[in-house]
Point group: C2
Chain length 243, copies 2
């Protein structure tokens, strides 16, 4: 793990790093020492580790909960090199949708492919970050919607350090098998008028989660229109399960 | 409106009253003066105006938000006389369910019948309570699940003073027509394993609400097992929309 920069603002310390070629960012409370809960965050498709929704939520996790947060670029996103195979598949998929094919199964297949790389990458990030003194081996949460859900469900299923997860804007086609192995508390977001994930697919993924405690939050609006008050709910959820 | 008793505890003043023969209870902050938001609460089937979930939530509405809260007994419940017609229907319905008929349509028919009485009764309660100096004509919220939803949806649809409502554990069979006239923000509760309201019925009632802002909270468990943290969410919802 190699840190490339460090800056502080509003009580939050932000450190950029690379780990085996994966660019990432770690947020911790300024001046923090000792072990604390950590939230790993998975960004959406076409976004990156410091996309506005990731950055805003990470800062609140640090400032309001005193936890740390970490995010890395998904292959083919952010500061990572273009991935020729993913690019070819994405181009193919766009052409297939234009020709009338359904979007959801194509997205599902693509996310399953990417998850085979991100699950081990994210587990390695946890290993490395938890060795830092002011992060330490505390309880871990996961946050990710859309692509961050498609990649997050297999990650949460595979990683026993994760104790609670906020997921959503994803469907059962991509993730139902992995969801059946998720047993930690989950808060799951569905947009009632999601133009990318059919309503029934989102409900079916919530249903497929094996968690004894799981809560579904449905709001009116399209894929990108999750209301701001859900961010407050996310913070309370993590505070309840990780603090 | 005739007050029959008054007591105070933990900063909450509780006054029992009757209004045209309807027994009710008003909770306000101890020593309060002037207008404040008011939440009208509808109790569940077989319960009454001071059932534990009503009382607990009312006290928090008063103590934590500084609002007032009011609840009355539904006909045939609590301190109201036995209603022979309702009793006869309830007995008939039990026999029909025992003979294999579906429960939901029978409940729906019964609630529609009762709502024809409770909607005008509750509107009269609002009129009377809002004339009290330490309640006043402030913004009004409604809270009610199960029977409190079946009676609440037509009430919220009919009463323009209501600005926000928490509803749930009810189905579209009973309430979809009225729901299409509800336009205020709604937080709607569904229990994923509800043995009384089929899952699809609950989702269909949420869908039928005409509100531009509506949020569905689904939790794992049976009809009576809404988790305690939903009460926190209810308080925040009313604080956001009525304060």
């Amino acid at each position: 793990m190699h840190f490339t920069s460090s800056m502080s603002f509003d009580g939050v310390r932000e450190q950029l790093f690379t780990l085996d070629g994966t660019p990432g960012v770690l947020w911790t409370p300024e001046g923090a020492t000792g072990t604390r809960p950590l939230v790993l965050m998975g960004h959406g498709g076409g976004q990156h580790k410091k996309a506005p929704d990731i950055l805003a939520l990470a800062c609140r996790i640090v400032a309001e909960c005193g936890f740390s947060a970490v995010a890395v670029d998904v292959p083919g996103h952010g500061d990572r090199p273009v991935d020729d195979e993913y690019d070819r598949i994405a181009t193919e998929n766009r052409a297939r949708v234009a020709a009338g094919e359904e979007l959801a199964p194509l997205v599902a297949g693509f996310q399953a492919l990417v998850a085979r790389r991100t699950v081990p990458e994210w587990r390695a990030v946890l290993d490395a970050v938890q060795r830092i003194e002011h992060v330490g081996p505390g309880p871990v949460g996961y946050w990710g919607v859309s692509l961050g859900c498609g990649l997050g469900v297999p990650f949460v299923a595979a990683e026993p350090r994760v104790r609670a997860a906020v997921l959503g804007l994803g469907g059962a086609l991509a993730s139902a098998e992995h969801a059946a192995r998720v047993t930690v508390p989950v808060e799951f977001l569905v947009q009632w008028d999601d133009e990318r994930v059919p309503r029934a697919q989102g409900l079916a993924l919530f249903d497929a989660l094996a968690s004894a405690e799981k809560t579904l939050h449905v709001n009116v609006g399209r894929h990108g229109e999750v209301p701001a008050f859900e961010r407050d709910s996310t913070l309370r959820f993590f505070a309840r399960h990780l603090a």
